[in-house]
């Protein structure tokens, strides 16, 4: 798939590197630091967004972002493009690192594990979210999901719950949780297509 990756319009004025996903993967596997530059330019914001949904403290989230890029660099060999897109792989590294941090003893003891219920509002309050003009209304979309979908998405996507934990927490059958995740993502798909 030769999908050209693009830079968000808000950053288009500065010189950025772009590669096709295939080229990017090849360069990454041959340990070309230019590939890392491209990845950073293209995805650091998206990944920090994912991380900070789970870890709202921006300094901690940026530490995790840094570790995420180091891990991407060090384990590029283990990425298999037949199993999924590069971003999915990177996003899951970022999510797993965030969840590990969230559940780590030192983080829990630091008292930084504030009520995650308010994470989204907290992040938004920092006004650093780089909403694309085209994507205005997304927030409304997510928050306008049926409350039952909203809950599940909140827990799994934002709080780092596993779907099994979410099912237990919401006292729902596992199958119902799966269906609700699917429905929520279908809503997103409709929006982006």
């Amino acid at each position: 798939m030769l999908l050209f990756l693009y830079i968000s319009k808000s950053l288009a004025t500065t010189k950025k590197i772009t590669f096709t996903e295939e080229e990017l993967v090849n360069r990454l596997k041959s340990r070309d630091t230019l590939a890392m530059r491209a990845l950073y330019d293209m995805y650091s914001g998206a990944l920090l967004g994912v991380i900070s949904r789970i870890i709202p403290q921006i300094e901690v989230a940026e530490d995790i972002l840094q570790e995420t890029f180091i891990k991407i660099w060090n384990s590029a060999d283990s990425y298999d493009n037949t199993k999924g897109r590069l971003f999915t792989w990177m996003m899951n590294i970022a999510r797993n690192m965030s969840i590990d941090k969230l559940r780590s003893k030192d983080f829990k003891n630091s008292g930084k594990n504030q009520d995650i219920e308010n994470n989204v509002d907290f992040i938004d309050a920092q006004k650093k979210v780089t909403f694309n003009a085209d994507l205005l209304g997304l927030k409304e979309l997510v928050t306008s999901l049926k409350p039952e979908y909203h809950n599940v998405v909140q827990m799994i996507y934002f709080k780092g719950y596993t779907h099994v934990e979410a099912a237990e927490e919401l006292n729902l059958p596992l199958g119902t949780v799966k269906t609700r995740i699917r429905k929520a993502i279908l809503e997103l798909r409709k929006y982006f297509n």
């Binding site: 968000s8 340990r31 630091t33 890392m36 530059r37 950073y40 650091s44 914001g45 998206a46 990944l47 920090l48 967004g49 994912v50 900070s52 949904r53 921006i58 989230a61 940026e62 972002l65 840094q66 890029f69 180091i70 660099w73 060090n74 037949t82 199993k83 999924g84 897109r85 971003f87 999915t88 996003m91 899951n92 999510r95 797993n96 992040i123 650093k128 979210v129 780089t130 909403f131 694309n132 994507l135 997304l138 799994i156 996507y157 596993t162 779907h163 199958g175 949780v177 799966k178 269906t179 609700r180 995740i181 699917r182 993502i185 997103l188 798909r189 982006f192």
Partner: protein, 283 residues
């Protein structure tokens, strides 16, 4: 196809994209994706949606964070490029330094050992010499002690003998018999003490003037009892004879004492022509 549709609608593909599946479930999804293009397409659609969603919610990282990251990445890159050429020589240099200091330490230890050895050898040699001197002294002292002991013994014996002789004067039962030289040696003479009640007989070396006997012969003392000779034992006369009194065999009665020169060990009867001294008991 109904089966594939149900599979897609189960929601497992969303969990797959969200990294929520156990390894065995992941393998299953990947197998399904390889087998059914619809599954693969569905996964890609989910991925793109999640990607778009993430991009839509992007947060601009603090400026300079990229520098930190790329410093680390380029350091590991530089590190891996030069690991062989830089790290190892550095290690060797480090090792060499360590060896050098080790050798220095060992050299000091060696010098200390040699010094200790020299001191020890000198001490040992001097001890050995002193020990030799001490041994010599001990031997000297020991032989001196032996000399003293023998002198003391000799003097004790002499003293005891002289005491006995002195005591004899006060004891009327002790008879002193003076034996005079015969035709064989007119100059010869000796003294015999005889206790008439205790029957003890002793010869007095200090008052003996007999020529020294050789190894093949000995002098034999006889008592003449009613004209018959009775053996009283043999004795030697030597230039270095020690002790004054020599005990002989007892005799109850005797009129005359005589000495003959006999073969070593004595004879059953006296050889009359070898009689050298004789004397009568004076009553």
């Amino acid at each position: 196809m109904e089966e594939v549709k149900a599979y897609i609608e189960s929601g497992i593909l969303e969990l797959y994209v969200l990294g929520q599946l156990a390894p065995n479930e992941r393998v299953e999804v990947e197998a399904m994706a390889a087998k059914y293009p619809e599954v693969k397409q569905e996964i890609t659609a989910i991925e793109i949606a999640m990607e778009q969603y993430a991009l839509a919610q992007a947060l601009q990282p603090t400026e300079g964070l990229d520098k930190e990251i790329f410093n680390r990445i380029e350091n590991t890159q530089a590190g891996s490029d030069h690991t062989e050429s830089v790290t190892i020589p550095f290690k060797i240099a480090d090792d060499a330094k360590q060896y050098e200091s080790k050798i220095k330490t060992l050299r000091f230890a060696l010098v200390a050992c040699i010094a200790l050895l020299v001191v020890s050898t000198v001490a040992l040699y001097s001890s050995h010499t002193e020990l030799g001197a001490a041994k010599e002294q001990i031997a000297d002292l020991s032989s001196e002690k032996d000399q003293f002991t023998s002198t003391v013994n000799y003097m004790k014996q002499t003293n005891s003998d002289l005491q006995k002789i002195a005591d004899m004067v006060d004891d009327p039962d002790w008879k002193t018999v003076r034996l005079a030289g015969t035709a064989m040696d007119p100059k010869a003479k000796m003294t015999v003490y005889w206790h008439i009640k205790g029957n003890h007989v002793m010869v007095d070396n200090s008052k003996m003037k007999l020529p020294a006997n050789d190894d093949a012969h000995q002098y034999q003392l006889w008592a003449l009892v009613n004209g018959k000779p009775v053996d009283l034992g043999v004795f030697d006369v030597k230039p270095d004879t020690t002790g004054i009194l020599v005990n002989m065999k007892n005799i109850a009665a005797a009129q005359t004492f005589a000495v003959t020169l006999e073969k070593r060990g004595g004879s059953p009867s006296p050889t009359m022509d070898q009689m050298i001294v004789a004397g009568n008991v004076s009553i």
